[in-house]
Amino acid sequence: MKLNRLPAAAAAAAIFATGALADGHGWSLKKAAEPYAGTTVDVVFLLRPGYEAIEAMLPAFEEETGININIIKHPYENALGEQVRDFVAGGDLDIALIDLVWIGNFAENEWILPIDEFTSNEALVDPDLDIDDFFPLVLNAFGGWNGTIYGLPFDNYSGLLFYNTCILEEAGFDGPPQTWQELKDVYGPALTKDGKHAFALQSKRNETQSADSFARVIWPFGGSFLDENFRSNLLSEESQAGLMFRQDLMQYMPDGIVAYDHAETVNAFAQGDVAMITEWSAFYSTVVSPETSKVADCVAIAPEPTGPAGRKPALGGFSLAVAAQADDDERAAAWLFIQWATSKANAGEYLERGGVPARVSAYADPALAETFKFIPALVESWQDGVPEFRPRFAEWPEITEIVQEWGSKIMLGEVSTEEGARILGERMEAVLEEAGYYSGDKPLAQ
């Protein structure tokens, strides 16, 4: 899946022809990239709008720098496995695409490099990098681990309530539900009829079961995965309340919600079959595009509903970091690409093309909220979210498998919420025990 690109020789010629060398002072991407023209940088991308956006912008970068970006596309569910295998194998990837829950793992394995390596190098760092312009929560959660920043936020999500204004108005609602309770007790019965459903909560036994379903119901009710001693908190009254709420809410969701991943959920909304979904901001462009959505004119966005413990929107998203296995040239080229893709200067275009930048400045223009209706809710949720919405430590890949397994079993009614949570907690603690959190070998960081 290589993109069209200029042959290196032609690119080099172009650099001379445009007189890039003449620009003696001041940093320019072209100049910084000069030693690395012809370098190929390998990176994993997902099949999501934010990646298509940057792919469309890529020719400009490649032309300017002569650096080739080789994109390897994977569905989300394969992306972690592919990258882990590549890093373990000492493979070709020069950039790591890091979901916020993978960062502890990647950092502890030293598969990724801290950005200091590059920000301390004047030849490589864009004077306009302006790290402080990233939403601090996002930068720290997506790109940081144990106080070190490794990645720059790239494909950035916050959980939002997408609702179909047409369906809601028809049922006599002039706005979205404010609380989860209201969603279930008032909107649920009113909007579930004629084969349509009020709500869909993606709950397939994949990462989505942990991230979008399980975690989404425990936090607003005051629950959490772990208590301050890293013991399971899933049997607490609050966590249980959340899980039971989810069971109860299922009556207003389509049958077989346990087989819905993002694609199915977004599609059900886009087809007008469900009135509301809580989905990542990243899917905005899918539901408002007439090519993929029947309800493009009826889409409105609100922050996620609040629970007894307040608004705890799902937090998720990716950062790009330079992979430690890359050689020096590839590292530099990879950094230049990451810096460019997440830059302030490009944030506007990225947004236009369907991406979601994490730059504060990108959202400064209030007029943007007209076109991109998710902006106010997004910006609000990034002011104050829960970084450990899903624990970000190295053990998450194992723990999420357990959550996925038992979370689905609970939903299917194969075990009670209490029994399921008990077993889940025991298995989770066994993993943490093995990792050395309880013996004090490891600091309790999530």
Binding site: G81, K204, A259, E398, E405, S408, K409
Partner: protein, 288 residues
Amino acid sequence: MRGKVSRKTIFAFIGPAVIGLALVGIAPLAYAIWTSLHFFNLTKLRKVKFIGLDNYGSVLSDPVFWEAMGRTFFLLGTALPLQIAFGLCISLVLHQPGLSLLKSLTRLSLVLPMATTYAVVGLLGQVMFNQKFGVVNQLLGGAGINWIGDPTNAFAMIIFWDVWQWTPFVALVLLAGLTMVPGEVEEAARLETKKKWIVLRHVQLPFLVPGLVAILILRTADTLKLFDMVFTLTRGGPGASTEFISLMIQRVGFRGFDQGLASAQAIILLIITIVLAQVYIRVFYKEV
């Protein structure tokens, strides 16, 4: 002195195949045995350590493993009888005289399901069995059956595709058996009784037994190996309702990254496979 040749000659003929298969078959196996005796997590390679038989202990006492195993044999136990029943009917129909053009066409079409890429069968299943835009529900008169999202229905759907893909195989094997029955014997039997059942039971069945044995062996092996179609259709879901043994091991090894545990599971699966193959082959195959 039939068949006596020098060791060198024997080795020259059989050596390359043995070495080849040993390299790709046994070397990885040895490695798997080694990892199965260690704590070996891909994301924690710095903590690799020898833990003896701990992984095996975990597998043997893990209900999830045995549930997956039970599910796998349950699939075999439901799909195989259906395949044999349908396959036998089809082969008997094809064996009857007349309609030769239509029969040739049917025989030809039976080749198609078997040759289809298993992963594609799963993808096709997703499209055809979708609750809303699937053609299966439409053909069932607008039934809103939730195939993929309901544990029982999803299992039924897997059985359907397994039967769809492998009944032709059974039918063709049995048909070949039927054509081995000497014409005059069959004719004589038909003159004696009008009951097809009796002809089948006493005249044709003996010729079908070897085929049935081969079917039993191959279907058992293929069910233990079953991965592609289910991976693309349900990924083992919803919940764990279609998580068969090979899918489960894949999940532990490549999603949980616990290769030590997954290797132990794989070795136990291998032992079960070998024991079954031994039993089948030694009991039913008297050759070589």
